[in-house]
Amino acid sequence: MKDYLKIAWRNLWRNSRRTLITAASILFGVFFAVAMSSLQLGTLENMIDNMVRFYSGYVQIQEKDFLDTHSVNNSFSVDDHLKTLIASDENIIQSTQRIETFALAGSESNSFPSMILGIIPEKEEAISGLSKWLGEGEFISSGSKDILVGKVLADNLGVSVSDSLVLIGQGYHGISATGIYRVAGLLDFPLPDLSKQVIYMDLANCQEFMGLQGKITSLVLMVHSPEEVTAAMERLKPALNPDLSIYSWDEIQPELKNLIEGKVASGKIVKGLLFMVIGFGVWATIIMLMHERRRELGVMIAIGTQKFRILILILIESFFIGLIGVISGVAASFPLVWYFYRNPIYVTGKMEETYRTMGFEPVLKFSMAPDIFFSPAVTVFVIFALISLYQFYYVLKLKTVEALRA
């Protein structure tokens, strides 16, 4: 084996330019694939994180029909059993109670449908850091009778801090829910969809507004990362009261899941095209390489080298080139990904508008998850290995006497 390694290594450097070009093709493949994967994953994770923190949480417990009806009639009370269950699960790092309902918000000049979120302000702050989006005014606290309004909604309604808003909705069991509330602050969310419809109020205030004494519509649970969601749900589900259901973030927001799947699929197509272009480049180099070595291979076979020995030699050479390309690709992409991971790109101008219109936070984030390096590296290496099989085909088909004439 030592001799094979020696010959293979020397073969690599007999035409160092060609070896470097081949390794560089692999390097660029890995580099761009890592950068693309990092950007895609980072941006998607950010999108999920935003939506999860601001809206759904990673896991929600709801009354079993609430997801379909979105009616406050399908609300529930958090009993001691449920509290103990949540508190004893070590993967659940935070939890909060919410009421999620709809009402018509009216000002002097306008009225718009709005999403009312009854929250425990301190807990919500701990989960989503809600107050950092406070553009004007002040944040609310538990027991407050004031409300927080999304900036876009406030603009549409023509209200600002200290103005009053009338909320009209349908409360528990059809009671009329009506109230007038002072605007304590305006929330300038990065997610325009939230900003144009959301109104936050203290949970107790909201319960009073909707006639939901002691009841909530959602118990929001946070785990460390999306990977822990399934395990947490599997632990909680059997212990829940049969009137309750437990959902993951993507069940609550299927449109977000579809969007993410669409983005992942389009990313795969782009990466597939990138791999194809690089694959053809490497293939062309390999064809050239085999053509140049045709006579030498013929001589080796003529003097008594079995073809399988030549295949081992080629396998080692390909492994070396692949390894050099993949390792340099990962090494080259690491600083770039690290830099943008630390310094996300904030999109401005027309692009920012486009992002906002589409409901996304106008920021490009990069991920440093190990898989964004590992997966493209393995994929490119496997593609290279498959292309290298052409060399096997070439050697197995090689006719010694014709090769000697080359």
Partner: protein
């Protein structure tokens, strides 16, 4: 004693429209220790004949028996092993493995034979010294002259202790001095190891050294002469 027995050897190449009989029914024997030149004009079939004799090009019909074995009845894997153990090759363009040193080129075939390292090293040194380039054992082919490369090729051909060596135009790329030296060397190896040498050549200097000259024309032997050297 006959080392090689060839009977009714035929090679037909099928081009798109015509069939070309490159070798047309050659029957001939070679004995141990021969130093034979196969001569003839270009396209006469001498290289094709040598390739079939060396197990490189399958004949259309006929037999090539070496040490009593019909080599074209062997599987391709066994044929490669047979070549490794029984036939040495010297090519016109030297055809050394460029990434190996002179010593490693000679050692390579013994490595394939599975000889122990010490034996390989000893024989490599002995062979390179006997072909007069013991001091270039660590040089790569690109650092050697044509004559030196062909000497390494001869040493490589002898390394496996073959029954015979086939040399296709071994002097074609060499200058006059290198040709004379190489021929002297091969004649000496022939005497020293009693190895059979069969050359395909047009080179008069090779013919002058040969103990037997077989002339081929249109794929047939037209003359087979033996000389006392």
């Amino acid at each position: 004693m006959n080392v090689i027995e060839i009977k009714d050897l035929v090679k037909i190449y099928n081009s798109s429209e015509v069939k070309v009989k490159a070798v047309n029914g050659i029957t001939v024997d070679f004995e141990e220790g021969e130093f034979t030149a196969v001569v003839g004009p270009s396209g006469s079939g001498k290289t094709t004949f040598l390739n079939m004799l060396g197990g490189l090009d399958r004949p259309t019909s006929g037999e090539v028996k070496i040490g009593g074995i019909n080599i074209w009845e062997l599987s391709s894997k066994k044929l490669i092993d047979f070549r490794m153990n029984n036939i040495g090759f010297v090519f016109q363009a030297y055809n050394l493995i460029p990434v190996l040193t002179a010593g490693e080129n000679v050692e390579f075939i013994m490595h394939l034979q599975g000889k122990p390292k010490k034996e390989r090293e000893l024989r490599t040194r002995e062979l390179l010294e006997s072909v007069g380039i013991g001091d270039r054992i660590k040089s790569r082919p690109a650092k050697l002259s044509g004559g030196q490369q062909q000497r390494v090729a001869v040493a490589r051909a002898l390394a496996s202790k073959p029954e015979f060596i086939l040399a296709d135009e071994p002097t074609a790329n060499l200058d006059s001095k290198a040709t004379t030296e190489l021929l002297e060397l091969m004649a000496e190896m022939n005497r020293k190891y009693n190895t059979t040498f069969i050359f395909a050549t047009h080179d008069q200097r090779v013919m002058d050294k040969a103990k037997r000259i077989i002339t081929i024309e249109d794929g047939k032997i037209i003359k087979d002469e033996e000389f006392d050297q």
